[in-house]
Amino acid sequence: MSPTGWAWACLLCPLVGTILIGLTWRLLPSRIHGILGTVAIFAAFVCAVGAFIGLEDRNEDRRQLVSVAWNYANTVGIDAKLAILVDPLSVFMMLVVSGVSALIHLYSVGYMASDRGYTRFFAYLNFFVFSMLLLVEAGNFFFLIVGWAFVGAASYLLISFWFRRTTATQAGIKAFVINVVGDVGLVLGTFFVFRGVGTLDFLAAFSQVGDAFSKNDPSLVAGCLLLLVGAFAKSAQVPLHTWLPDAMEGPTPVSALIHAATMVTAGVYLIARMHPLFEQAPTAASVGAILGCVTLLVAATIALVVTDLKRVIAYSTMSQIGYMVMGVSSFAYAGGLFHLMTHAFFKALLFMAAGSVIAAMANVQNLDRMSGFRKAMPFTFACMLVGGLALSGIPPFAGFWSKDEVLALLIDRGGGFVVLAVLGYVGALMTAIYTFRMIFRAFYNEPNEEARELMETGHVHHAEPVNPMTGELEDTDVGFPGPEHHIAEQTGSMRLAMGALAVLATVGGLLQIPDVSSALHDFLAPTFADSSYYDDLEPSESLSWAGLAVGMLLGLLGIFIAYRLWVADRERPARIRQQLAPAYRFFVHKWYFDEAIDFLVVRPFAWFGRFARNTFERVVVNGAIVGGAAGAVRAGSAAVRAVQTGYVRYYAALLLLGLAALGLYFLISAS
């Protein structure tokens, strides 16, 4: 089968999965649906591997394949086709998305086992994977936008999966609204590009962009900035990031799949895919790089003070995506995409481990309540440690190689990008501190009540289910988390998934080692053949290794600081909090982004809505337009009604008068 055939099969597997689960939810027991969904995604992964092998067999210069299933519309100027583009970049994304998704499905089989919405969960999850694959395989803007919107919808469905939790439904709405802002940005950006190049097809558009636009053409810059709005909303970058921490209301596998490994990296993919446009509009690309850098610092500072286990990882995700956005916007594509891949491994792993801890805590997510789980859950601890070391950039784990490659490429570009790289190293230090703050607080020190119980009796205490955000008591019926909590130590499928990811997070970085291997760089080269930076940006050996050494030292320093603060001298954090009270307050309130957006956007809109309802609707619409039309008709009909007396003789007289008038008129006009 050709690579495009495999790619179509890869796209179909999750679609068939979601339809089958949707149609047979009454007929089959729910366990089977879990297996069905997982098998579908594994099949998709196999197909992606097939596409990969098929692509590797072809010549370097013939690795960009387009396959059109059918034309929707091929009229003047518009070529809307159901077309997929199979090239190294999309195959790379297919492999990452389907591979990580398959493992997360496997994890969900155990994690969601006692949830009453088990079947629905797998139908949504399969739908999400289908949408994400559609997004990365799309061969034109048209299908990119379709996939983009599908992914947003799937994210909404999964965030508000526990739909009886008000907090979850609100978080879902927030995510959806911000994602729609991004969709609008993407569509408008597409219009700008389309107006210049006159085609929606990726390859055709990219080949014409040099002729259609001059360097830094204002309309192309505007289009690229609008594409960035789309990318930033999806990838939770400042200032469209506020939905991601709230999205942690969804079940933990969802956080691992959508809000760490796959969906939120769609923005990075978009920028990498649109690289010919961004290289023609370097101003827009620089804006992207700067905002990525701002995001990575903002998110890292917030992650230092957040006490919710999953939200720490969520802010960490934002911060790491900041690195990727900064990388691909600075034209360090291989570095950014390499970090995307390793991040998918270790962040999914961290979320899975966090899910296991949360299960052991009976849905409590507060770090203040956790301690000493190391002995109670050695497997979870080992996975968390591997993920944490990879995130902090400690060799030989995956994050070490990828993050430092991004930063080395930035330094190599010189100029202002060096500043960004230095700030990236500052972020790396904070990354290590907040990661190990989380690990030390949850796993070290004296075991708490739950950890002791787990050690002594071997099973978790199922406390009364409460909403971790509001503390309200909850049902365990459908639309709420299930009554049982499944922790990784005791569930085979969860152990399997986490084990596989832990291995990947350990060895995934070996794909790209300066001067030893550049497998990913070489594999992606055909996609970026038209880039003027791809091969020129080549940090020297000494620069790369110096960067790696600095990264490692900062990581170790961060771990050491975290150890001093949260294990050795545990009174210290409170003292520091008091000394730096204003900064602490600022970070705890998440830099007041929610308040600022509330003040700048939500309230004016709400005021405008109230004005429209109370004033405009009542006075103009109801009073003037509707009331005026009704009044005119009523007055007119009253006048006409007065003529209708019912006297036949009166009608006859009127008729004759009219005829006489008509006759007179003709007589006068004839003379």
Partner: protein
């Protein structure tokens, strides 16, 4: 005799019929007055036919007579129906269709 005389007679007859339709309240009389108006028209048509020296106007007059016969049949039928249902024979009393 010039055509004006015929037209004057026609106009006089038409006016008599018209004032009868407007003034009288008995449907039978109104029907008669309508016939007067139709026949005034017929007279004018025949007079013009003579003036032009062809038969078109006379054919029209014949058709008007046919229509008038039909009208009388319906009108009388209505009046008989009014009698049968013991309704007042007065057009001013029959004004349910007022607006």
């Amino acid at each position: 005799m010039s055509v004006e005389w015929y037209l004057v007679v026609s106009a006089i007859v038409f006016s008599i019929g018209m004032s009868g339709v407007i003034v009288r309240r008995n449907p039978l009389v109104i029907l008669l007055c309508l016939e007067l108006m139709l026949n005034a028209g017929n007279l004018a048509l025949v007079a013009f036919a003579r003036m032009h020296g062809n038969q078109d106007g006379q054919i029209f007059a014949l058709i008007v007579m046919v229509v008038a016969a039909c009208e009388v049949a319906i009108g009388l039928g209505l009046i008989v129906a009014l009698y049968r249902r013991r309704l007042p024979i007065d057009v001013d009393e029959l004004r349910e269709l007022q607006g």
